[in-house]
Subunit: 400 residues, 2 copies
Amino acid sequence: MENLECIFCQKKYPMDIFNPFCPECQEPLLYPSPSKKRKFSLEKTSPLEKFLDFLPLSKIAPNLSLGEGNTPLLNLNRLRENFNFPPVFIKNETVNPLACFKDRGTAVAVQKAQSLGIKRIGTVSTGNMASSTAAYGAKAGLETFVLLKNDISTDKLLMTSMFSPILVKVEGDYGELFYKSFSLGRKHNIYFMNSVDPFRIEGYKVTGFEIFLQLESRIPQYIFAPVSSGGHLIGLMRAFLDLKKEGFIQHLPSFVGVQARGCSPIAQAYASGKSKVKRIKKAKTIAHSISNPDPPGGNIVLELIRENKGIILDVSDKEILKAQKMLAELEGIFCEPASSTALAGLLKLSEKDKLKPNDRIVLVITGSGLKAMDILDPSRINVRETTILSLEKTLDSLVE
Amino acid sequence: MENLECIFCQKKYPMDIFNPFCPECQEPLLYPSPSKKRKFSLEKTSPLEKFLDFLPLSKIAPNLSLGEGNTPLLNLNRLRENFNFPPVFIKNETVNPLACFKDRGTAVAVQKAQSLGIKRIGTVSTGNMASSTAAYGAKAGLETFVLLKNDISTDKLLMTSMFSPILVKVEGDYGELFYKSFSLGRKHNIYFMNSVDPFRIEGYKVTGFEIFLQLESRIPQYIFAPVSSGGHLIGLMRAFLDLKKEGFIQHLPSFVGVQARGCSPIAQAYASGKSKVKRIKKAKTIAHSISNPDPPGGNIVLELIRENKGIILDVSDKEILKAQKMLAELEGIFCEPASSTALAGLLKLSEKDKLKPNDRIVLVITGSGLKAMDILDPSRINVRETTILSLEKTLDSLVE
């Protein structure tokens, strides 16, 4: 029998896949770390097999994988030179199968579903998690239920619909929908692997392990990551907590969670020294993928950030778009606005805190710009028009 | 001094980066294979370093990489079971940095540019090559010229413009523009790394080497790949020709190049037994990324296919869309229509030729479905609408 634990009440409870929340304080339950000694299986190529000891799975079914993970860590030389920064890297999660970090969590949750004999899975999503869950559900041959906000963009709906899940647009409060999905899931044996699902969060740890190995078993000084529901940042931090527990490292990197100012409930609680996140009324930001006004993992994020001397920042839409453009122009990286918050956060922090020349900085870039084409402004494209006959003259004038 | 060679005239010429075409027959020149013994450097993780011996480069500048390659080879179990096929795999090139196989070629061509001290690069593209070249140009700090057809989709233009290249839309014949770019490139020292650039083609070989290693140093019976200009298929075939030359394999896989019926000049020439491709007047297919009516590598493709007992097929738009949907529904893969031609080709071939149980089949999936959202039909999305209050009833009716 497996347990889940509440980090606030510090109690363990028998795992209930249909309701992974603390019966006492209602916070999301997490998968407890085992007492046995854990090690990497570096001879494996699949990330889930490589880090199996650290995952809530006893074995990996290779046929459920879409090839998630093993993403590059890229050195941002031109950005570094421009700002006289210490070494800055991005962990490029946009090259996951569905172009988003969510795949790492979905991969582990779907493995768990299969190991438990579950035939129906579901998710409540504003976009990226919908396509990820629908795709892995298709690969595994599971019946997949996707509950969506009724203002989802047509492109995100189109992409998700390709995998033929059962799609339901729901009018009403998104936070309420999130919690309601669990009781309906129990009724119909649908495992709702939502944003702070404990197995999903364990999957995000793999990104942290990869960063550690790609830096040749060293830790960066800072890790910047966008924060929405909180699940991703919790997973990243838990990776380094695991590494510390196993004696690989002595202390944690400084984690910097970045929110969009137009939807920054966790940053607001952090700034005012509160230990609980208060939901905000309405999100207003172009960073749609991180606009969760009622983040279910918010309190855990605050707790882990405080315990480990991290920071939560917010950045404006203007700073986000500037950082998105900078990553493209200087480094050839096309990410969605939700992801460029990481760079915007670094630029903001570097104004206040002096970065040291030997610091190593990692920005986790979570999703492809192809997922948010609707926020780009066609009127700002700088394109010349000419004919084949006049092309020589046009080029002459451009090159001079 | 480096040479390029013409496979038709069987002569070598001093390499001219601004005009890599045979002065006698005007066919694209290719990079000759060296006389020295070549081997894999399996201890390296970067694909370009791993296969450096097989590439037209003496060393790799790591700062020019966007993390291309190392893409997964996925087992299509559900498709296999549905059709009673032998093992079918996809080589998932959609998870390259710009979500397309082009990155592999651009990566090598940009390395070459830097090694030659070239400061300006360019490309003539209908879309995918534009964003790839602009991104790698940005990463390398090169001035990048992108010449586009004037009917390019807004989304493709938007994506490319993020990297701030010099963008020029050109009215007129695309084939003419392709050839004209070289003379203008010479005038202004712009290295036009177009579709059949010899260094780009060498970059595509890496995909072939990865397939070979991922199949544990065995060759598949069939490799299916979409064909447009011909550059990609030429590169894939050259990988296995190299492996044969070095004694790794005894014979080549059967290559099956697949074109869209609405733009299939190479398939038409193949079917009628001609040795030269005749350009077609007008392309008409939803597979925009492979709709080149005047493929510059067409004659080389025909020659290599004939020499090595390959096949060129064409498939209808209806078959292409059906295959795209099948890959998503059964295997969780979302690719653009140009890519699903590979599966459509397999389905077509399997009707005529009996596949043997021990055959291994590889489909090269070249680009992400996110690059062709415009061909998806929003009116066909099957989505229920409900409210939070009625959600239970809605789910009851869907599950029953």
